[in-house]
């Protein structure tokens, strides 16, 4: 398995190079440049700036220069924030996006599994309808609607939580819920479906026949089997959550990398855009690899390679 993982990791390198090349080409073919603003620079100053950042060289040579710097671990300076390096931006903001993502997924797992279990254990009752209704709402409401509603309720009406910002656990709650709601809802529906199915199986009937208490039957025996679809779901969901925090970050003023991911492209901040693409594509590839390895660990029938 270690050999397999190493081979997969090596295989990522050409893929990353391809992703970077495509990102480079798309960025540079988009109209407008990093120094365009309502107030135009004089041609002389613009020329000097382009020379300073080597933008006056042929595109392929610029890409070669970028890869060369990258090989030395240098992601370059930001064009927009001229006293910041790209590496510094990623280092300072990526942990925040990851923290938000972890909390969102934790929220999704805890509430999703709880709601799914309640629904499956009491199917077609008020509890079931309540949990599944909430899940349906969670799936339907986009986060840019859910976020402001949560702010209205928890920051303005109840005055329990800050409406935005960063720096304390209280600041994490609303963004994590907003970001995790969709995943929580999906997990709840997955768990309900698969737990209902499992509870009807012979092994569970046997367990009950042995006189085990209902909680033991549900949690020790049934849920263990019913959780597997959640594991397969978790890989792509984690990837989507970690890289999809842009709206939530802006809404709640979370100083993460997600905003840079989008804004750098809009600002034509070429180096930051390349750096964030590199970061997120590496992250996604590693997550995919982790999911494949987890399948293998959970189910020996899965053949790697």
């Amino acid at each position: 398995m270690i050999g397999y993982a190493l081979r997969r990791l090596l295989g990522l390198l050409p893929l990353l190079a391809l992703v970077l090349f495509l990102a480079f080409v798309f960025m540079r073919t988009a109209p407008g440049g990093p120094f365009d603003a309502e107030r135009s620079l004089s041609p002389q100053i613009e020329q000097a700036l382009r020379a300073r950042y080597h933008l006056d060289e042929p595109l392929l040579r610029q890409f070669g220069r970028y890869l060369g710097d990258l090989a030395h671990g240098d992601l370059g300076p930001s064009f927009r924030y001229r006293n910041r390096s790209v590496a510094e931006i990623i280092k300072e903001t990526a942990p925040i996006s990851l923290a938000l993502g972890v909390m969102a997924i934790a929220f999704a797992l805890v509430f999703g599994i709880a709601a799914g279990v309640v629904s499956a254990v009491r199917p077609r009752t008020g509890w079931d309808h309540l949990a599944m209704g909430a899940a349906m709402i969670g799936i339907c409401i986009p986060n840019f609607v859910l976020g402001p509603i949560l702010v209205l309720v928890f920051a303005f009406t109840l005055r329990l939580l800050p409406p935005a910002g960063w720096g304390s656990p209280a600041h994490l709650i609303l963004p994590a819920i907003t970001l995790g709601a969709l995943r929580a809802a999906s997990i709840a529906r997955l768990v309900r479906g698969s737990l209902l199915e499992t509870l009807g199986e012979d092994s569970i009937r046997t367990a009950r026949a042995k006189g085990l208490s209902e909680p033991v039957v549900v949690f020790r025996h049934a849920l263990k089997l019913a959780i597997l679809p959640v594991v397969s779901y978790l890989g792509p969901a984690a990837a989507a959550t970690l890289s999809g925090s842009v709206v939530v970050e802006r809404l709640f003023l979370v100083p993460g990398l997600g905003t840079f991911f989008v804004q750098s492209a809009l600002n034509r901040d070429y180096t930051v855009a390349m750096g964030t693409v590199l970061f997120y594509s590496t992250l996604l590839m590693l997550l995919n690899l982790a999911v494949d390895l987890a399948y293998r660990a959970l189910d020996p029938r899965v053949e790697l390679d």
Binding site: A30, G32, G33, D36, N83, R84, E92, A106
Partner: protein, 536 residues
Amino acid sequence: MRDRAFLPFVLLAILIAVPVTLAVTTSHEPRADFVFDVNSEPETIDPAFLTGQPDQRVALAVFEGLVTRDPETLAPRPGIADRWTTAEDGLTYSFHLRPARWSNGDPVSASDFVAAWKRILTPANAAANAEMLYPIAGASAFHHGETTDFGTVGIAAGDDSTLRVTLAHPTPYFLDLCAGTTYLPVNPRALARFGDDWIRPEHLVANGPFTIADWKLRRRIRLRRNPDYWDAAHVGLATADAIFTEQASTAFNLYATGETDWIDSSGIPPMIRDLVVARSDCHRSAYLNTYFYRLNVTRPALADPRVRQALGLAIDKRAIVEHITRSGQIPATHFVPPGLPGYASPPGGDYDPARARALMAEAGYPGGRGFPAIELFFNTSEEHRPIAEVVQQQWKDVLGIQAELRNQEWKVFLASTRALDYDVSRASWIGDYLDPSTFLDIFRSGNTNNRTGWADAEYDRILDRAAAERDPAARAALYAEAEARLLNHGPIIPIYFYVTLNCYDDRKWQGCAPNLLNLLELKFVRRSDAAVAASR
């Protein structure tokens, strides 16, 4: 299926991940005395390279130039220079520097200004605002590389405490320039040691009311009163945080819950603007900022000045400010905003449908017949579309012409307007200093900010004469003449003048009222007397 209990592992992972995450993300810092929202993260606060308004607001808290501005009237006040004299010809200024220190203990000397200005004018440094120094004799030639001898530039340090500046032509607003960010000094020792990185918070050496204690990306800049500042006793705040909210709804939420003490117009969501304006904590002032449309005169349909005038006269700008912008903006009939000392714009044309129709008929398009459909072009924004829709409708109703709306993302939009790939495009212009030239100069032939294809030798000539004129009244009259020509022959339709809206509780705070340049002079912000009395 191997019999392996997966659930406990998931729960265990959560149990570990969550506290670690919390520990990593939590930082315990007391709230600053005053939290103000500058809307977006400053790109840099290096006086040589900064361009944006957030950059300016922070830079002016950290550095002080020869001159400062009154926080409300913006009139020049002594800064690092405690007095100055102007020679009879209006071309030579002598600044006498007060004893003042940098935060590393160095004295602030006349040569620090010379070094800072030389850095900006050195062509290889590509400083964006070098043109702001062009009123100084020889500055433009040095910056264009016509000479490498800085001695030819009219800047000379007489001794450590005297700075003599010789101008190329009379510049009545020169003191106002001296109060701006381009004219700020740098500490030569920090610059020599760290190069362009001297401005990073860990290296920064300040001479203004505040220093930077800490700068967290996308989060805040923590400013702390600079004990080495010459007037530290009169700085009202011990600490202040600049935050960068970007989204108006978030900014307003933070303000409404008391997390932020001060927001400006950019922190007020357009949807509730009329409600906010009616509140007692919303303070309004005129703003040196014009919302206007550029007309591409290289398009055959717009080549005739009568057509361009008709398009302007057909727009009922009052309807736009009353129904769309809704916070006291002033309908614009001229280009230079009101409020500049000693200058009055020509009246310009108000909403006049009959005259608009007559002009179109004169130009050969009676009732709009034969006039091609034109495109009304703007950058993607919830502000610009409704205005464009009103204009589209009014042109149709009044002139019988068709306009199609087209929007593009900001950078693409800029590239398109620079390439003159548009018919009519939305624009705005913010004045840099208190003089009409900051608006009128952009429509000189070939100016990179002209972007309309309009070139008029007579207009350029009037501006040249105005720039050389020493008598203030005659000078103002020449600028008014140029503006009248711009409005009658020119390539623009002024729509409205912006206003500055600052929200803050004036029972708690003073010194942060809105002003014409939308600046916040943090030095003057303090708890108001009522609040101080109440806390006793």
